[in-house]
């Protein structure tokens, strides 16, 4: 299928994990991709992989918490490709700690990257999409945006914020026929998860392997989620088939989150 031939996608946090899978999925179906990440070297590697698929790609360094850098990122994409069809605001972080031990820095880090980063990116992108008269915004939320999780109160707060923000923005941009949605992954096998199982093991007096086994037991479909599972729904939301969907927060969790 070449659903995204000649389309242009911008993916933040595109160098690794879910973001990288989204980049490759869209490129595999025809899209040209701007890979934006704090880690420029690895963003370049993903851009090279995309070029091998026969598409155009650029790597952009961005810290999504910095308004000027976000604006520059969006300007760069428009300059290079002339438009943006799909904006994937995917950059995200996590740390783990119970609230009583959580540092103010941890709170700020999670809220700034996961929530404020989405605001800053969406604001800059929305202005472009309104001007050009088309486009879709697709944010990465989390099942932690649908239910609370111990040790992740700050992360959940930030992901709930993403969902509330996404829904509001969808209402604001509907009159321009711009779709704004998000998806909510579950326990995805990424580098972020590799770090989390180590933290959680320490906090609960278990081994990382035991934590990982518990994740699998928690998942009704009986395996860890892959970045490709997420990329499939991410691509669907960009496709014409999803033109009438807006303001949604769709679970992709193997059945863990059903609400």
């Amino acid at each position: 299928m070449m659903r995204f031939k000649d389309k242009v996608a911008l993916v933040t946090g595109g160098a690794t994990g879910i973001g990288r899978a989204i980049c490759l999925k869209l490129a595999g179906e025809g899209a040209n991709v701007a890979v934006a990440d704090l880690d420029l070297e690895r963003a370049k590697q993903v851009a090279e992989e995309i070029k091998k698929l026969g598409r155009q790609a650029i790597a952009i360094h961005v810290d999504v918490t910095k308004k000027d850098q976000v604006q520059k990122m969006v300007d760069t994409v428009v300059e290079k490709f002339g438009k943006i069809d799909y904006c994937y605001n995917n950059a995200g972080v996590s740390t783990m700690n119970p609230v009583v031990d959580m540092t103010e820095e941890e709170w700020d880090f999670n809220m700034d990257v996961n929530a404020k980063g989405i605001f800053l990116c969406c604001q800059a992108e929305a202005k472009v999409l309104i001007k050009q008269g088309f486009g879709k915004i697709i944010n990465t939320a989390s099942m932690g945006g649908k239910h609370g999780i111990p040790f992740l109160a700050h992360y959940c707060a930030s992901k709930y914020a993403v969902i509330g923000f996404t829904k509001s923005l969808a209402l604001e941009l509907a009159k321009y026929k711009i779709n704004v949605n998000c998806f909510c992954p579950g326990l995805v096998k990424t580098e972020m998860q590799d770090r989390e199982v180590v933290w959680e093991a320490k906090l609960r007096g278990m081994t990382p392997e035991e934590v990982r086994d518990e994740y699998i037991r928690m998942t009704p479909l009986g395996r860890l989620e892959t970045p490709e599972d997420v990329a499939n729904i991410a691509a669907f939301l960009a496709s014409e088939e999803a033109d009438f969907m807006t303001g949604q927060a769709i679970n992709i969790t193997g059945g863990i989150e059903t609400n």
Binding site: M102, F119, L120, Q123, K127, F165, T166, K167, S168
Partner: protein, 262 residues
């Protein structure tokens, strides 16, 4: 109805006006001593005077909930003066009506810091005290019906109130083993100084008077009237009482049916 809070001590942020003042007075009516925390010391003092007339103790604390050290100091001062904290009401909050494409970064920050981070900072400081004391406790956050659904012109506010709902659930998981319940109340359009400001903003956008904006709002309500701070305070007092000891991790609407309107 008396929820029998005699002998309890409550800390209420944003207690100087609006819903916060309503909560302070309702808890006091039910017998609790109340620490009225607010960034505006004058209005906090007014609330405290009203509380004292009800025959319970009141303490006034000037507090900016976004400052970790101020929060720590406020909690220490309350424990020093009133002996303990049984009930924490994280109620301080702000709002602004503006579309995302026009929203200033400083306004995003103000909403996330006061409405969401303030709940984290106060909960952290008070939860440590409640855990150490070993007698359980109640944390009751003022979220909003806009912590569950969206509204245009309020993306930043919705983000901050959704955050409160998520934080409430995580915190309930973490503090349940200590007998501390954590819940949120989700008010609708409450007749408060904050809503007065919002009606002004709406009026400006619609080219009508603030009074007309308020009246339009009233007419839309299913129950034919705007929400009063007391409506919210009644639910808070219930959640603070022994009757609600098995309720935790909930975010309960007290919104006159909003988002449903006539």
């Amino acid at each position: 109805m008396n929820f029998n809070l005699k002998g309890k001590v409550a800390m209420v942020t944003g207690g100087g006006s609006g819903i916060g003042r309503g909560i302070c007075l309702k808890l006091a009516e039910n017998g609790a001593d109340v620490a009225v925390c607010d960034i505006n010391l004058d209005t906090a003092k007014e609330t405290a005077e009203m509380i004292k007339k009800l025959g319970v103790k009141a303490l006034v604390v000037k507090l900016d909930v976004t400052k970790a050290q101020e929060v720590e100091d406020a909690v220490a001062k309350i424990i020093d003066s009133l002996g303990k904290i049984d009930i924490l009401c994280n109620n301080a909050g702000i709002s602004l009506i503006k579309n995302i494409v026009d929203l200033d970064e400083k306004d995003w920050d103000a909403h996330m810091n006061i409405n969401a981070k303030g709940v984290y900072l106060c909960s952290k400081a008070v939860a440590k005290h409640m855990i150490a004391r070993g007698k359980g406790g109640r944390i009751i956050n003022t979220a909003s019906y806009l912590g569950k659904i969206a509204a245009p012109g309020l993306g930043h506010y919705c983000a901050s109130k959704f955050a409160v709902v998520g934080l409430t659930q995580s915190l309930a998981c973490e503090l349940g083993p200590y007998g501390i319940t954590v819940n949120s109340v989700c008010p609708g359009d409450v007749d408060t100084p904050m809503m007065e400001r919002e009606w002004k903003m709406h009026a400006q956008n619609l080219g009508i008077t603030p009074e007309e904006a308020k009246e339009q709002n009233r007419q839309r309500m299913l129950l034919g009237r705007l929400e009063k701070p007391e409506d919210v305070a009644n639910l808070v007092a219930f959640l603070a009482s022994d009757l609600a000891e098995y309720i935790t991790a909930e975010s309960i609407n007290v919104s006159g049916g909003l988002p449903f309107t006539r």
